[in-house]
């Protein structure tokens, strides 16, 4: 594949190295002359000095035949514009942007960027998985649908222990999928199924209903 990378910082550098190792054709666009020279000395002449948001620059390096453009500078706005120019001016099939502000993930997708990767979100997800006491854990995001599969733990002190599901105010947008009991025996979340201490409840929910779901299952 021919891949254009905008931004030769640490992320751009290691990304380029990995892609070259996999046998891809890579060109890096970087504004800073010193950074450019360093990359060219280490990885061979693959870095061009210039602004990756400028159409003339992108035309010069043949972005029209690129299979993918990845914008990994430290500034969200630069990454957005580089991806949009690639997409709308050069019809690059796949554009990937690195984002700093996790809230920009939805925005970037709406504005035509194919994949927006938030390092902040990735780290947050790992924190959630590593901390077992966290009451609501993300198991999987359903791409494009703003839905997530989550796990909610039922601990013994909760007021909801012993209550049947029909008595809990689970938001209608969320769907309980399965209850996994303390001994890994699972049962279906029927309206009459009662919660037990040690249960883990697997549910599908829109992101904005997560808090409501957690309160319904664990109490306020």
């Amino acid at each position: 594949m021919y891949i254009v990378i905008v931004g030769g910082g640490r992320v751009g550098y290691y990304l380029t190295k990995a892609l070259l190792d996999e046998g891809h054709e890579v060109v890096v666009v970087e504004k800073n002359a010193a950074v450019c020279t360093a990359i060219n000395e280490e990885l061979g002449s693959i870095c061009v000095r210039g602004d990756g948001c400028e159409a003339t620059m992108l035309a010069e390096i043949g972005t029209g035949r690129a299979d993918m453009l990845m914008a990994v500078t430290g500034d969200d706005e630069d990454n957005l514009i580089a991806c949009q120019v690639a997409k709308y001016k050069f019809n690059v099939r796949r554009t990937i942007a690195r984002i700093r502000n996790p809230k920009n993930e939805a925005l970037f997708k709406k504005l035509g960027v194919d994949v927006a990767i938030s390092t902040t979100n990735i780290i947050l997800e790992h924190i959630e998985e590593e901390v077992p006491t966290h009451p609501l854990t993300h198991l999987m995001a359903i791409e494009g649908e703003r839905l997530a599969v989550v796990e909610v733990k039922i601990t013994p002190e909760l007021a909801t222990v012993g209550k049947p599901i029909k008595q809990l105010s689970v938001p209608p947008e969320a769907r309980l999928i399965l209850i996994i009991g303390a001994n890994d025996k699972y049962r279906m979340p029927t309206p009459n199924a009662a919660l037990k201490a040690g249960d883990r409840i697997i549910a599908l929910t829109p992101h904005e209903k997560e808090a409501e779901l957690r309160i319904a299952l664990r109490g306020a």
Partner: protein, 134 residues
């Protein structure tokens, strides 16, 4: 008319003064409080510290009820991004931004973003002045 201006540089501050004097409700946003020194002492609108590409900051500035949105920060990319947030996320009826790079302006104009390219406008004006057509 309720107007939000992002970027309190010379142009932003001057525009804020003009609109305020005409009785419009103006909120001007900048991420450096020192920039607000450029506002005229008679400016009666709101000066608010905040980042023009942060949706929370824009909400605090009242973007949800704004009639018009102008972005004139130093960075083309920041201007384009803020303008797109205003237009496509908050559906502000009138959005105008400044784009210095003529090529970038051309592309975003084609994509439906209203903008002014000072580079082209000013070069044209200079040329006409030099050639004595004004």
């Amino acid at each position: 008319m309720k107007v939000i201006i992002v970027g309190c540089g010379r142009v932003g501050a001057h525009l804020a003064g003009l609109l305020d004097a005409e009785g419009h409700e103006v909120t001007i946003l900048d991420n450096d409080a020192y920039s607000f020194r450029r506002l005229s002492p008679t400016f009666g609108g709101t000066a608010q510290l905040g980042n023009g590409i942060d949706q929370e900051a824009l909400k605090r500035a009242g973007i949800e009820t704004a009639d018009a949105f102008v972005v004139v920060t130093q960075g083309d990319n920041r201007n384009i991004m803020a303008a797109q947030i205003a237009k496509y996320i908050f559906n502000v009826p009138r959005v105008v931004c400044r784009i210095y790079d003529p090529l970038r302006q051309e592309l975003y104009q084609a994509l439906g973003l209203e903008s002014i390219c000072p580079t082209v406008v000013f070069a044209d004006m200079l040329k006409e002045k030099l050639l004595g057509k004004v």
